[in-house]
Symmetry: C2
Amino acid sequence: MGWGDLGVYGEPSRETPNLDQMATEGMLFPNFYTANPLCSPSRAALLTGRLPIRSGFYTTNGHARNAYTPQEIVGGIPDSELLLPALLKGAGYASKIVGKWHLGHRPQFHPLKHGFDEWFGSPNCHFGPYDNKARPNIPVYRDQEMVGRFYEEFPINLKTGEANLTQIYLQEALEFIQRQQAAHRPFFLYWAVDATHAPVYASKPFLGTSQRGRYGDAIRELDDSVGRILRLLQDLGIAENTFVFFTSDNGAALISAPRQGGSNGPFLCGKQTTFEGGMREPAIAWWPGHIPAGQVSHQLGSIMDLFTTSLSLAGLEPPRDRAIDGLDLLPAMLQGRLTDRPIFYYRGNTLMAVTLGQYKAHFWTWTNSWEEFKQGIDFCPGQNVSGVTTHSQEEHTKLPLIFHLGRDPGERFPLSIASIEYLDALRRITPVVQQHQEALVPGQPQLNVCNRAVMELGLGCILIRKRGKLPGPTVCTSYALEYGKAELEIQRDALEPGQKVVVVDDLLATGGTMCAACELLGQLQAEVLECVSLVELTSLKGREKLGAVPFFSLLQYE
Amino acid sequence: MGWGDLGVYGEPSRETPNLDQMATEGMLFPNFYTANPLCSPSRAALLTGRLPIRSGFYTTNGHARNAYTPQEIVGGIPDSELLLPALLKGAGYASKIVGKWHLGHRPQFHPLKHGFDEWFGSPNCHFGPYDNKARPNIPVYRDQEMVGRFYEEFPINLKTGEANLTQIYLQEALEFIQRQQAAHRPFFLYWAVDATHAPVYASKPFLGTSQRGRYGDAIRELDDSVGRILRLLQDLGIAENTFVFFTSDNGAALISAPRQGGSNGPFLCGKQTTFEGGMREPAIAWWPGHIPAGQVSHQLGSIMDLFTTSLSLAGLEPPRDRAIDGLDLLPAMLQGRLTDRPIFYYRGNTLMAVTLGQYKAHFWTWTNSWEEFKQGIDFCPGQNVSGVTTHSQEEHTKLPLIFHLGRDPGERFPLSIASIEYLDALRRITPVVQQHQEALVPGQPQLNVCNRAVMELGLGCILIRKRGKLPGPTVCTSYALEYGKAELEIQRDALEPGQKVVVVDDLLATGGTMCAACELLGQLQAEVLECVSLVELTSLKGREKLGAVPFFSLLQYE
């Protein structure tokens, strides 16, 4: 959903009376951000309070490449990450997730393995349709049990847009709240609905009711549902004891516009980009009797703050053994205090931009590739800011493009690099970014797409790459090729000591690369079970270089 | 000011608490339009309830050419137009205009000649600076008397942006209201301030206080002033007896962005264009105890409706002897009733587009010329919708570009002309436009820029043009050239019978054109005093063809 999709954020059709009312009774954050312009990483950030680069919710498959968890991805939320529901257990909270999980679809990654007590929903997004064989429709779970699939037991009519899912999700939410209230148990409900994701859907009473088409129908149903949840809290007399926060995981997907895409208001581009349209989100806090009604907070907020704030509300401290990026928003909400803090904009493992105060600096600009763009895939339809909405990845790390977001929220007029204002802004931003990057320990990447065979076996996949391609601390080795010299790198924390590894390459020639890979793995104390290649040039005797390590090739060539 | 400049319309800095509060206590119109993307015509429309094409507030100097009243313009609001303050006199209302008039700067056009009882402000906009000789600074009047000039007696510091004007205008407003209330006189106050027009200004207490730069400072001061006016009405106990409406005359001027230009929210382009960004305006109605608080009306509204609505509030009928385009908004405001009506978008004398319901059809698309664009003048910075934001005038009168403004408020995705939706929309729009155009009687154009000598004499200027170039009913004549045939036209209502005319052309050759012009003027019963040309080709004896009409040429060539 986009920043501009709510009436209170200026959507002209003004079809969100319940969310607008929530803002009237609560606090509106116009400067609130998700942690990534795509779903899975944002949701990991929400539940861990950490940037996706720390929790491993990124890919090293390409530079500045977005990634999430389609069925092909075997990664997921690592056991080493501490999720909000698990921590809230320490204060006696019952936790339920309703809707889209998106932190890994293999059983070990499911919500109930990571602190939730209940789950009704799907591991991935509902889009499709699939052929139900090689790529089955996305399953729907109740707790650990699969209870059906989208388009089958849980129908979504792609032609009419009719689906009853939001109503089902609403009932799940209402029932959970009622049950906890009856048991006098504190609770954490993560209501993660996905009706506004293409293919957009709504239930029959809402279909065709919006001035905005089917996307608006879906928004109206979400708005109505939020209203019903808030009303239930009031009816049960627990409104003053329940903190509610509304936000979204990424900006509206303009590639789906105008029929299935929403609005990012005055902001540039949308989902998948690190312009404001991709990452600035609607955000409303509601806690009657505590948060003063009808206020606006200019605190730079992040979806990760919900982690820290929720812990704070439960009287808990955030974990001290790891970097936490979330801020406690209670001072902003209860005392109107503002805290100076940066907002980091990542795509994959690349720090694209940072906002500090009113200034946003872009170190890299990119919408999407020329190849995609030529095929009609456009992340910024109708928008074209010369030198800013670039179709190739443009580096500005030495002299970032800097915008003043107050005067220029649409990122159309970069400050002149000769201006005093530019130099002042850069002087403030540089040390903050340096500190962030020096202290950063990237997690093991969870969202790499590897060889299909590996993927189907459900095994993990670690990349060994040429020097300079991998983020974070690495281990490096240099070796001789038959035609020169090369250096290979692996991330230092990619493997645990003793982990078993098969090394895969396309070609074995003199064996230098394969051997260097084994050496790197040895440095990490991994156990190399076997090396394999597609083609082996037998006359070059690379196999001999591998010594005792078993080697297998599919094709041999003299 | 732009649609997106108010917090309640989604401006992220949310710096208009008084206007937002006005909306909370009153009614917000998200679909409200001015009558022209430029100042003078919009203001004429507001006060006459008529499209500028009817009142003559347009130019025939060029196709789709915007025009206003700079110092060079000798035209103004015709005596034949009935202005709101003059009509309100019939119900005993005292009227005052504070600020920018813009309906003609020659004495006969001044506000007090057209129904206002009081005036404090300027005939034109404050921009400059001028050299104070050939082009003096704009004068400031109190009633009929000039009391100083901008930048002189009424300083505007171009460097710091400091000017006390809004505070002066505010005091004028407050004092007028107090005086009328003390005298128990009904009143009409037209508070037409211009602080957000480049060069943007604010008074010292507001300078530097906005997150949006100097433009935001100006907005904050306007917002504060509106709050003080509303508070006075409440303090005097006349709030429930006073109807207040806030709107603007055109969208934010994006050519002045980011330092002096505002925001048109999610809409395309800005001032000077007939895209939504140029003509959709913020609009709030406030009348405590009558208009229900916190409501949104989806009525398609127009600045011209303020004419008709104001008359209705005063118990008066709009004039019946002329076409009135304004609608009475009281049914929409008091009973929530919606009236189906078209919104016409003109540039000069060209009908560029029309909105009916959710559908907007563009008959012509144009931002600004390639020549201007290449010089860096851009009415749509950062926006580029292929085939829509065109730099040449593109005609679509046969198959208009149609947008669904609900799904696509940013006018980025024209409907496919092969779709049923397109055909349905076109079928509804076509008869409405036909009826409008058939019944239209354009007024005599007031905003033509003519020969400088004529302008300096302060005389009117009528164009005689080739066939098909003039709007409305015309008189035509055909005549022989030395190298073929030609047709000339004049607007039928361009002159009154007996009006004295000098005919001016660049060249007199065989005299055919000059003679045809005299014939046309004869048809309109004008009195041709003399014909003049710059160059006369004496050997062709054109002079003889003119018979008794005196002729004068500056240069003669054998």
